[in-house]
């Protein structure tokens, strides 16, 4: 199974966080930046892990769990 990661490098997280906070209208206290960045980095790693799994285009979400 391929573990190849096609996603680009994380880049400047602080710049992204500041821009995203503006887009989301979340007023960010500068004191929160470090912790938000750490959490976003963990989420980014999780997304990379998920994204490395090859899925067919037909694999749509299945929000119903009937057996």
């Amino acid at each position: 199974m391929s573990e190849q990661n096609d996603t680009p490098p994380a880049g400047d997280l602080d710049t992204y966080i500041a821009a995203a906070a503006g887009l989301l209208s979340i007023p960010l206290d500068p004191a929160w930046m470090g912790a938000v960045g750490s959490n976003l980095a963990v989420l980014r790693a999780a997304a990379d892990q998920v994204g490395a799994f090859p899925l067919p285009d037909e694999a749509e979400p299945a929000p119903v769990y009937e057996a």
Binding site: I26, L43, V50, L55, A59, E66, A67
Partner: protein, 467 residues
Amino acid sequence: METRPDPGTLTAEALAGAFRDGTTSAADTVAAVLARIARVDGAVNAFTDVLCERATARAAALDVARARGEPLGPLAGVPFAVKNLFDIAGLPTRAGSRINRTRAPADRDGALVRRMEAAGAILVGALNMGEYAYDFTGENVHDGPTRNPHDLGHMSGGSSGGSGGAVGAGLVPIALGSDTNGSIRVPSAFCGCFGLKPTYGRLTRAGSFPFVGSLDHLGPMARSVTDLALSYDAMQGPDPDDPVATERPPEPTLPGLAEGVDGLRVAVAGGYFSRGGDPEAFEAVAQVARALDCTRRVEIPEAARARAAAYLITAAEGAALHLDRLRHQGHAFDPAVRDRLIAGAMIPAPLVERAQRFRRWYRAAVLDLFRDVDVILAPATPCRAPRSGQTTFVLDGVTLPVRANIGVFTQPISFIGLPVVAVPVRLDEGLPLGVQVIAAPWREDLALRVAHRLERDGIVRAPVANL
């Protein structure tokens, strides 16, 4: 000298029996439970609200009903309590937060509270929890931590920490909790209780404060498997007020509870579930497996990726739920919750959608396993309860943050809604450990049967903490 056992330390089954046969009154039971809460809960901090008036009035009404010969429900005379994300008429549903305390009081009880009381149970209070259920520790910056009743210097586990603490401490025989990524199973393991996380959609969530709609489950915690079955059976049934509640009619589990395990195909989860924890977590699983003559192993495929996907979806859906509060009341959150939610709000949508698509693949792959097995065993947590306030632990030689890693073994299971009974194992005189007894969707009955057999044989047990 006190010779009668404290009612709070008895099982629901025993209390209901004593009420039915006239050995005890509901009023006496409730008075004794309220007195025990007053005496013990200062140390444990499981309760955020004790409903003295309501419980006393309800007990008096039940005593009158019994005197009149009216029909009594299966839980008649049994006190219970609920995590404070369940609506309770007259109280704002705080869900562990400071922010929600300014909400209007709930105008009626949540659906499961109503169903428990329809079966004769008596609500005695609301229980502490991690803020907005985004927690595995049982700590709460606003209300203080729930302490582990078996060792007050240790975590209760979360986010249903008050539920685990109250049951483990013998304050109530049954508590209701919620489980999004492990929040029933983790405190059950740490506090030495039984916990049932049913199939996703099995129990209505109407009248409870949500966290992650596509992962939220509600369920009971107790000190016996029979008590789990009694309360679970009382709470089943469709509910149009919860969009994901199943249309299936109730499938009572109590009648078949003692059918045993003959013919059931049981396997231990290998691979991901056999590493990354303390040896004793795996010894607890091995002990349960030996008792069931289980030598089979299965590999749950891509469990690590499933955990990562659950982590992503949790952060994103949780952030969507709380977005307006993040915009306007950021300073009123628990900082640890707020910072994770803000990060969750910033995950690009395609990454979350991809996690949902992976979920489809993973669900099909895991359901395939249930063609060959009926029940899968796995650890509930990677270790015993850490010390209160502990921020890192060493698992398999790797130092990891506690908060993010307590749920490593529960997240890949709830991710696809499988039913699980967490059973408490006592390897020694130290703190308890938990084992997940996992079944196919809608087969809570099988997980409960296995748990019941283990309990009968003394392999798993939930003694009241010595407080």
